[in-house]
C-alpha cells in the first residue's frame, strides 16, 4: 500500500510577536490514519494544529514562514480560500464549545451557512449517528445544547464538524475536560471515524496517544524531536528526549 499524506508541513515556522513558537516543523499526516501530536504543555502542539486550518490568523501578531500543503496546495498561498479550507478541515476544541442554540441547530449550522436548504434533517441525523450521539438526543433535538453533559457536548461538536463533510478533522485535546467514561466513548469513535477521515489529534495524555494513534509526533519547545509509527515511538524511541518524556521523566 502506498502511503499518501493528506497534509504536509515543510519548514513550518511560527512567531507570536517575538516569541518563536514553531521551529522548522516537517510532518506528513497520512490519509485515513490518526496522527497524534504529543509533548509537554507550551511546546506548541495546539499552535501547530491551528496552523493547519489557519486558525492562528485570528491572532494579530502571528507570523508564519514555510509551507502547509493540503492535498499538495499551500494553505498560506494568497489564492487559498480560508473559509473553504476551514470547511474542508473540521476542528474539535479542547473545551466543548456548542453554540447557545438547540442540538439540531448546532449540527445544522455549517449546512445553513453554506446555503444548503434541502435534506438538512437527514444530514444532521447522519452526522449525529456518526458521532454516536443520535440515540441519546434523537427525542430532544430542540433542547439547548448547553443542557447536555460535557461528553455529549463534545460529541455534538464532533457531529457539528462532521456535518460539513470535512476531509480532515483536527482535535485539540478533545478529552481534557471530560471524565474517563466520556473519554472512552470519544476514543472509540476515533476508530470508526478514521475509516472516512484523516485525523490529527493533540493530546498530553500518553496512554491516549498510544491507544488511538497510528503515528505520533513529539514536539518539544516548538521543535519536532521525533515523528514515527506510534508503536515505535512508544516502544523504541530513537531520541533520548522522547524516551525521557514518554517514561515520565519530565513534562
Amino acid at each position: 500500500m502506498v502511503k499518501r499524506d493528506k497534509v504536509v508541513t515543510k519548514n513550518l515556522n511560527l512567531w507570536f510577536g517575538d516569541n518563536h513558537v514553531l521551529k522548522d516543523v516537517d510532518i506528513g499526516i497520512e490519509e485515513n490514519k490518526v496522527t497524534a501530536v504529543i509533548g509537554p504543555s507550551g511546546c506548541g502542539k495546539s499552535t501547530f494544529l491551528r496552523c493547519l486550518n489557519r486558525m492562528n490568523d485570528l491572532i494579530d501578531t502571528t507570523r508564519i514562514t514555510g509551507k502547509v500543503l493540503f492535498d499538495g496546495e499551500d494553505v498560506y498561498n494568497n489564492r487559498m480560500d480560508v473559509v473553504d479550507l476551514r470547511r474542508r478541515v473540521g476542528m474539535v476544541f479542547q473545551k466543548p464549545n456548542p453554540f447557545p442554540k438547540s442540538v439540531f441547530e448546532n449540527v445544522a449550522y455549517g449546512l445553513r451557512i453554506q446555503g444548503i436548504r434541502y435534506g438538512i434533517h437527514e444530514k444532521v441525523e447522519k452526522a449525529l449517528r456518526s458521532a454516536v450521539l443520535w440515540d441519546e438526543v434523537k427525542n430532544r433535538l430542540n433542547i439547548s445544547a448547553l443542557s447536555l453533559s460535557g461528553g455529549q457536548q463534545q460529541r455534538l461538536c464532533i457531529a457539528r464538524a462532521l456535518a460539513c463533510e470535512p476531509e480532515v478533522i483536527l482535535m485539540d485535546e478533545p478529552c481534557s475536560a471530560l471524565d474517563p467514561t466520556a473519554t472512552a466513548k470519544i476514543e472509540e469513535l476515533l476508530f470508526t471515524l478514521k475509516e472516512r477521515y484523516t485525523i490529527c489529534i493533540v493530546t498530553h495524555n500518553m496512554q491516549q496517544a498510544a491507544r488511538v494513534s497510528d503515528y505520533a509526533a513529539f514536539l518539544l519547545l516548538g521543535e519536532l524531536v521525533e515523528f514515527n509509527d506510534t508503536n515505535k515511538i512508544f516502544t523504541n524511541p530513537k531520541d533520548k528526549r522522547t524516551e525521557d518524556y514518554i517514561t515520565g521523566r519530565f513534562g
Binding site: D60, V83, R87, F99, Y109, Q114, L146, A161, C164
Partner: protein, 292 residues
C-alpha cells in the same frame, strides 16, 4: 469588634443613599404633583388633546406631549440603534487594534459632549440645513430633533452593546470559523445572537436616555403642543415642557402641579425602561454563568 460593625453600618448608610434619593424624588414628584388630580381627571390629563395651562379656562391634556416624546424617541432609535450597534460590531470584531484605539475614545468624546451643545448645533447648523433641504416652513421639527437625539444616544448604545459583544466567548467564534463560516456569517449567526440580551439592554437604556433628554428637544424640536401628524412638524416633548414652563409658574398653582404630574409620567416611563434593562442583564448573567 463593635468598632468594625459600626464601620460597616456607616458604609451601608451611604450605600442606601441612592435608594433614599430615588425614593425622595418619587415622594417629591407625588407631593407636588398629585393634588392636580383633585381638580383634573387623570384620564383627561393623560389623554386630553389640548395643553393650554395658562389659558382661562386652563386645559391640561398631555397627550400631545406624550406623543411628541414618543415620536422623537422612536425617530432617535431609528438613527441610533443601527448606527450604535453597527459601530459596536465594527469596533469589537473588525477594526484593527490601532484603529480601535482611535475610534473608542472618539465615541467616548461624542458621549461627553454636553446636551446643550447638541441643542445649539441643532439650532444653528442642522435645523437650517433641514429646512432648506426639504423646503419646510421651519427646520425645528420632530425629524431634526430625532436625528440629533439619535446621534446623542448612539455612544450609549454603542458602548453597552460593545461590552456585550466582546464578552461573547472566543470559543463560539472559533467554532463557527472552523466550520467554514465567513467572518460576517459568524457575526450575524453566532456573535450577535449570543450578545442579544446585552444588545437589548443597550437599546432600552438608549431609549431611556432619549426620552429623558431635555435640552436637545427643548431647543430643536420646535415646541408646538399639538398632536403630530408627520415627522416634519414641530413637536413638544414632556421634558421640554417642564423645562420651558417651570420658570414661569407660580409655586403651588395648577400649572406648577401639572408640570410635576408630567414628571411623574416621565419618571414612570424611564423607571420601567431601567427595570426592564436591569432584568434582562441579570437574566443574561445567570445564563452565562449557569450554562455549563
Amino acid at each position: 469588634m463593635t468598632k468594625e460593625i459600626f464601620i460597616k453600618r456607616f458604609f451601608l448608610f451611604f450605600a442606601l443613599l441612592s435608594i433614599f434619593f430615588l425614593a425622595g424624588i418619587v415622594f417629591v414628584l407625588f407631593k407636588e404633583g398629585i393634588s392636580l388630580f383633585t381638580r383634573v381627571n387623570i384620564i383627561d390629563f393623560l389623554f386630553g388633546k389640548s395643553w393650554y395651562p395658562t389659558h382661562t379656562p386652563a386645559e391640561f391634556g398631555i397627550l400631545p406631549l406624550i406623543l411628541g416624546s414618543l415620536l422623537v424617541t422612536a425617530g432617535a432609535l431609528v438613527v441610533a440603534v443601527p448606527l450604535g450597534i453597527g459601530s459596536a460590531i465594527y469596533v469589537s470584531e473588525i477594526a484593527k487594534p490601532g484603529i480601535r484605539d482611535v475610534i473608542k475614545p472618539l465615541l467616548e468624546i461624542l458621549a461627553g459632549v454636553p446636551s446643550v451643545v447638541y441643542g445649539f448645533f441643532g439650532m444653528v447648523i442642522f435645523a437650517p440645513f433641514i429646512q432648506n433641504l426639504f423646503n419646510l416652513p421651519t427646520g425645528l421639527t420632530a425629524f431634526t430633533a430625532s436625528v440629533i437625539l439619535g446621534i446623542m444616544a448612539l455612544p450609549t448604545i454603542a458602548s453597552i452593546a460593545e461590552d456585550a459583544i466582546s464578552s461573547v466567548p472566543v470559543s463560539f467564534k472559533e467554532a463557527s470559523l472552523s466550520l467554514g463560516a465567513t467572518k460576517w456569517e459568524t457575526i450575524v449567526r453566532v456573535i450577535v445572537p449570543s450578545a442579544m440580551s446585552g444588545i437589548s439592554t443597550a437599546i432600552i437604556l438608549g431609549m431611556g436616555r432619549a426620552i429623558g433628554e431635555t435640552m436637545t428637544v427643548l431647543m430643536v424640536a420646535g415646541g408646538s403642543a399639538i398632536i403630530p401628524h408627520t415627522f416634519f412638524q414641530p413637536v413638544r416633548a414632556m421634558t421640554a415642557t417642564i423645562a420651558a414652563e417651570m420658570g414661569e409658574t407660580v409655586v403651588g398653582s395648577m400649572h406648577y402641579q401639572s408640570l410635576f404630574a408630567i414628571a411623574i409620567v416621565l419618571f414612570m416611563l424611564t423607571l420601567t425602561f431601567n427595570i426592564i434593562a436591569d432584568f434582562i442583564s441579570q437574566k443574561f448573567k445567570k445564563k452565562m454563568t449557569g450554562g455549563l
